[in-house]
């Protein structure tokens, strides 16, 4: 395939590292997107909750590229989510009056966790720590952040400008945490997290992030990620500094998690230490493991559908069993379809459509 112009970009979107490809997949994708845009107004869904599902999609994408594609399991991915959320809130509170938009809040909410990931990642990867240690260290890091934020109740010590960290009550003054807002002066567009407008905003952003990540994963960088996952030592003997590849994907994943955290603070105008907790971390792992960690599409679908299921379970009578069912689903999937439900389904679809070449293109041609 030639690597020029629009065909090059389409090739990257289609490409080999993501499971769904070929025109059957893309028709399905378009149908899905159209349905998603019609969603809250025509299907009678409450935007407030659905907005949360979309944010979980970002987090799942973040862990999928890190764990599924590059083989680095982080049990503390919400550390970046939480940092993004707090930084977004702090910047939002302080700059709202002077700017009237949240551009810098989003910038900070993405860059701060990325910078944090760069420091932590450099220490871990340059020391060539093994996967298990990284997983546990990330969990511990997340818990450290939770413990730290919990003891920031004293406004004298823990305040940044107008923002007060507020300990277990979360960032205050909560009424000053703005909505996501873009533009200048008269032409500011404001997205209320409880309304449908936020839904369209987050949905568009999620689709763009998804397509962007598809392009990244299908580029030669994506190949290197998979190569590092499959055999880091072998990849190093081909002249690649594996540690830098790991660090790079760690930072990208942190940036996406930071974006998710920013969106979440904007959605509910609130952020508290619970974002760093164990249950938040385990949910992300469940979404991705159950959906299918090795495929971006599967991981995002896993997050959204499991969140939906969880909501249904908690609102349909016996909320206390919701967590048990989620745990049981995780254990069951790990035993029966360890690659994840949506990867499992995707493989079956590929077999079904594969012979006619509709679902997957010739792999040889799909190298960019």
């Amino acid at each position: 395939m030639k690597r020029s112009g629009i065909f090059g970009i389409l090739g990257l979107l289609n490409g080999p590292q993501t499971m769904g490809r070929g025109w059957v997949f893309w028709i399905g994708f378009v149908v899905f997107v159209v349905l998603a845009y019609l969603g809250p107004t025509h299907l009678g869904l409450k935007p407030y909750k659905i907005n949360e599902f979309l944010i979980s999609g970002f987090l799942a994408a973040s862990l999928s590229i890190l764990w599924g594609y590059c083989g680095i399991l982080s049990l503390g991915q919400v550390a970046f989510f939480g940092i993004g959320g707090y930084v977004w809130g702090v910047i939002g509170i302080n700059l709202w009056d002077s700017t009237g938009n949240t551009h810098l809040a989003f910038l900070g909410g993405i860059l701060a966790p990325t910078a944090f990931a760069a420091i932590v990642g450099a220490a871990m990867f340059l020391a060539r720590l093994k996967g298990v240690y990284i997983a546990i260290l990330m969990l511990v890091l997340s818990l450290l952040l939770e413990t730290f934020m919990l003891q920031t109740a004293d406004p004298e010590v823990y305040s940044i400008g107008k923002a007060v960290l507020g300990g277990s009550n979360g960032l205050r003054p909560a009424s000053d945490i703005p909505n996501a807002a873009f533009g200048w002066g008269e032409s500011v567009v404001d997205f209320n997290g409880r309304r449908a407008e936020f839904y369209y905003f987050a949905l568009t952003l999620l689709i763009l992030t998804y397509l962007g990540l598809r392009m990244l994963l299908n580029s030669s960088f994506g190949y290197l990620l998979v190569a590092v996952r499959e055999d880091p030592d072998r990849t190093e003997t081909f002249g690649y500094d594996v540690r830098l590849i790991q660090l790079a994907v760690f930072c990208i994943a942190a940036a996406i998690a930071g974006l998710a955290g920013s969106l979440d603070t904007a959605r509910i105008n609130r952020v508290d230490p619970e974002v760093f907790g164990v249950s938040a971390n385990i949910m992300v792992v469940i979404w991705v493991a159950v959906g299918g960690r090795k495929d971006l599409t599967a991981a995002i679908l896993g997050a959204i559908s499991l969140e939906w299921l969880f909501l249904w379970l908690t609102t349909s009578g016996n909320p206390e069993y919701a967590t048990i069912v989620m745990g049981a689903i995780l254990v069951g999937v790990m035993l029966i379809a360890p690659e994840g439900i949506f990867v499992f389904i995707g493989e079956r679809l590929r077999v079904l459509f594969g012979k006619s070449g509709l679902f997957s293109v010739e792999r040889k041609d799909s190298v960019i």
Partner: protein, 252 residues
């Protein structure tokens, strides 16, 4: 990198400036001395075999060359440059290619995708299909480029692993037991592949257990024993050497 006229070189040098040279290398694992004051030089274009009984330090030698382990003392030179403290990827970039003993292929990728990783540093994607075809022909895997690697036979995966190392276009290729687990026919093909590559000018070092295989390569051979260089010479010399028989052939 310029070659230098070295002083105090090991006696094994045969005239040309060596492309790989290790001097007085010692490697201790805990209490075990895996490599004991080993000095060895490989000349450019050479096909060099290394044999020795189990635990003689052959694989350790390759790991030291590739940098996956560091020597306790001594130096390693490549193309005149001291690479003793370089990371494995830096050595690969300077032109060392390796196939380790355990198979190292990306099981979940296709054959073609396996080649993408070693080739990407030197070639544009557009050139790859042709180059891959050429290598596949060498390693008897023509037509299998879209096969997922985990579906290949053991021997085919070994060849693929060699092919991937070739795709890196190394100056020196290190092959640790390239014929391990192969049948007689596959083993013979492997020897042919290695000899053809060497005839084109690639420097190759082969570690092997199978004496038939070493005989078919029929090249300069070093015998390692207890981590030290025990004997060196042409294959015939080694085969005639009584002491080598005692430590190795006798046991084999």
């Amino acid at each position: 990198m310029n070659s230098r006229a070295d002083t105090g070189q090991p006696q094994t040098v045969t005239g040309d400036t060596p492309i790989v040279e290790i001097r007085n290398v010692i490697k201790d694992f805990g209490g075990v001395r895996a490599t004991d004051n080993l000095s060895l030089a490989i000349t450019p274009g050479e096909l060099h075999c290394m044999i020795g009984p189990n635990g003689a330090g052959k694989s350790t030698f390759f790991k030291l060359l590739m940098g996956t382990i560091r020597p306790s003392s001594g130096t390693i030179h490549f193309n005149g440059e001291d690479i003793t403290r370089l990371a494995p990827f830096a050595r690969a970039r300077r032109g060392l290619g390796i196939k380790f003993q355990n198979m190292q292929v990306y099981q979940e990728l296709t054959v073609f995708q396996n080649f993408f990783v070693p080739m990407r540093r030197h070639h544009k994607p557009a050139e790859m299909p042709e180059l891959v075809d050429r290598i596949l022909r060498r390693i008897h895997l023509t037509g299998l480029e879209d096969e997922t690697v985990k579906n290949l036979s053991h021997g085919q995966q070994q060849w693929l692993s060699i092919g991937m190392s070739i795709a890196l276009e190394p100056k020196v290729l290190l092959l640790d037991e390239p014929a391990a687990g192969m049948g007689p026919e596959e083993t013979a093909s492997t020897a042919e592949i290695i000899k053809a590559l060497n005839a084109e000018g690639m420097t190759i070092i082969v570690i092997e257990h199978d004496m038939e295989f070493i005989r078919s390569l029929n090249s300069r051979t070093s015998v390692l024993h207890l981590g030290a260089l025990f004997a060196q010479g042409s294959y015939e010399d080694i085969e005639r050497n009584e002491d080598v028989h005692k430590i190795y052939l006798g046991k084999a």
